[in-house]
């Protein structure tokens, strides 16, 4: 982890603490165990999809289809469980369907060379439409008890959903920091041409990254379905914006080359705390959308500023070296 990453993460943590202090001054209900638990549970879905999005953005890509993949995989999972399959089989098929849809995105990007934004925006529409057509816009509810426990159960004082989100964060961190694939994806994000010249399997890396993003979206689909005991075609609408905001705020640059899952976790927690705090102090929900939009733009602007600063530092170093 570079110095800028550590500095940025410390900044995010400070921001989170200041926000917490502010909201607890504004409302006595904010700093309670139940509410903090609630923030974490509500943040589980954004955290899980944002980890997948971190991998994607680290390759200079974007995945606009995670909301639709979340919806269609949760419908698929619910439908299979309603039609007699066990919980484990239903979950496995759900995650598999998300992975397949992600792979489809990856193939379009890597093999056809179409821009990630275009491919995933297109598939977002297709997957959402398929979900609506398949369910005729009706929700599927009444999941088996074994599945519902995932949404409501606890391990000691910690809800299972939070544990699942933390497992995804640890998995994402492990992939980026400790695996060949993690270094490959950062290299691809830095420069596809250089990565190719150095023998990195660029296409395979890109396909795997989008497949993992799809799998993460499907995992988030499990969380949503288990919590609400319902699968519906409109689930996960707008989740992309939150995920991208969390990732960029967390220090993973749109310009590729670096990825920080811990930063993403902090970014997602900031958004979750912001939403929760605004609700508690009775700010109407449409203002919350406005705040998240503003936070997103500020995060992107900060990314540009930091990159500009880095470029300037680079230039100065080279000038000092007489190059």
């Amino acid at each position: 982890m570079g110095r800028i990453d550590r500095f940025q993460q410390l900044g995010l943590l400070t921001f989170l603490v200041i926000m917490g202090v502010l909201f607890s001054i504004l409302s006595p209900y904010f700093m309670t165990w139940e509410n903090l638990n609630n923030i974490l549970v509500q943040s589980a879905v954004p955290i899980i999809v944002a980890v997948g999005m971190t991998l994607v953005i680290a390759t200079r890509g974007i995945d606009m289809s995670i909301g639709s993949i979340l919806a269609i995989s949760s419908i698929f999972m619910a439908w299979t469980m309603k039609h007699g399959l066990g919980v484990a089989e239903g979950i496995s098929l759900g995650v598999l369907s998300g992975t397949v849809m992600g792979t489809f995105n990856g193939l379009g990007i890597a093999k056809l060379g179409i821009s990630p934004f275009i491919v995933t925006l297109g598939t977002a529409g297709i997957f959402r439409a398929l979900a609506l057509i398949f369910t005729e816009a009706r929700p599927i509810y009444g999941m088996p008890l074994g599945f519902r426990i995932l949404g409501t159960g606890q391990l000691g004082p910690v809800p299972l959903l939070i544990i699942l989100a933390l497992i995804v964060v640890v998995g994402g961190y492990f992939i980026i920091v400790w695996t060949r694939f993690g270094t490959n994806l950062r290299a691809v994000g830095d420069s596809q041409e250089v990565a190719y010249r150095m023998g990195v399997p660029v296409n395979r890396t890109l396909i795997a990254v989008y497949a993992l993003s799809g799998a993460a979206a499907a995992l988030a689909g499990i969380v949503v379905t288990a919590r609400l005991n319902t699968a519906e075609a409109i689930a996960g609408l707008g989740i992309e914006l939150k995920a991208i905001a969390a990732v960029v705020m967390g220090g993973t640059s749109f310009f590729g080359g670096g990825a920080s899952v811990i930063g993403t976790l902090l970014g997602a927690l900031i958004i979750g705390t912001l939403e929760n705090g605004l609700t508690i102090i009775n700010v109407p929900s449409y203002y919350q959308q406005l705040v998240i939009g503003v936070v997103f733009i500020l995060a992107v602007m900060a990314d540009r500023l930091l990159r500009g600063e880095r470029d300037r530092q680079e230039k100065t170093i080279k000038q000092e070296a007489g190059l």
């Binding site: 695996t179 290299a187 041409e193 010249r197 150095m198 023998g199 590729g256 080279k318």
Partner: protein, 278 residues
């Protein structure tokens, strides 16, 4: 020893000088030939980059590849490095005909290239760049899950850079923060660490200061001493005469002259590069 006979050659000051572009080779002593490329053609749309270009690299030598801008020198190297596919022609490595379709394949044949732009990932650190695509791993605890052996890679990279005379204070910092000479050292170290048989250098001293330039030239001679065979593209004839044993002149996509540099004047070579004959 390879004897080059070329149709219509004049013999002047101990060298063969071509009058016509086409050359033929009598394959005496071909066994010490590490790389042979014959009749290589490459087209980029309508543009002819290489037209029946040929090259021979002997064991343990430094071959300078010279020519005017756009002559096809870098293209020739990139075909050997697997970056571009050739349109026609044959490539032989140690006498065996090979197909090179990707940089990965080229590396597996023991060929490494240092690119003119150095081809480093700026946000990755020095050892990550050096080991990119060829990481050291070890199993996590007692599992079968392979994880990066960061300590071993960082240590070996640091040692290897020290051997090249470069002491990095921060091996974990991004390479974009390094000076041009340090970056070039990382790029050369990436080649040298895997003990390749053949090293391709594309303008290794371009845009460098005098001190760093000398350092890089020393590194090239060290690589030669370690037994690597080297093809070096350069515009700087002074450097060429400093490190190369032979030179190959490429003009308008064709190889027009090849011979030893010993006893040759840089002016003759320059004339050949630009006029096509001495």
């Amino acid at each position: 020893m390879i004897v080059i006979t070329v149709k219509g050659y004049l013999r002047s000051s101990g060298m063969f000088i071509p009058l016509l572009g086409k050359w033929e080779q009598r394959k005496s002593g071909m066994e010490d030939c590490v790389v042979r490329m014959e009749g290589i053609c490459k087209y980029f749309g309508e543009k002819v980059a290489l037209e029946h270009a040929s090259i021979e690299l002997h064991e343990g030598e430094v071959l300078g590849l010279v020519g005017d801008n756009g002559a096809g020198k870098s293209t020739l190297l990139k075909i050997l490095a697997g970056v571009f596919p050739k349109d026609s022609g044959d490539i032989f490595i140690k006498g065996r005909k090979v197909r090179i379709n990707s940089p990965r394949q080229s590396r597996s044949l023991g060929i490494e290239m240092v690119y003119q732009d150095m081809s480093l990932c700026g946000s990755l650190n020095a050892w990550e760049n050096i080991y990119l695509g060829r990481y050291h791993t070890h199993p996590l605890r007692r599992s079968l899950l392979p994880i990066l052996d960061k300590r071993s890679m960082a240590r070996k990279a640091l040692q290897s850079l020290r051997n090249l005379g470069i002491d990095l204070t921060d091996i974990n910092g991004p390479v974009r923060n390094l000076s041009g000479g340090q970056q070039q050292a990382v790029a050369i170290c990436r080649c040298q660490l895997f003990r390749p048989g053949v090293i391709l250098l594309d303008e290794p001293t371009a845009s460098m200061g005098m001190a760093e330039r000398e350092k890089v030239l020393d590194m090239i001679l060290d690589l030669k001493d370690q037994g690597s065979s080297i093809i070096m593209v350069t515009h700087n004839l002074q450097e060429l005469f400093q490190v190369a044993d032979r030179a190959l002149v490429v003009k308008e996509g064709r190889s027009i002259w090849c011979g030893p540099l010993e006893g040759m004047e840089p002016e003759n070579l320059a004339q050949m590069m630009f006029v096509g004959r001495a």
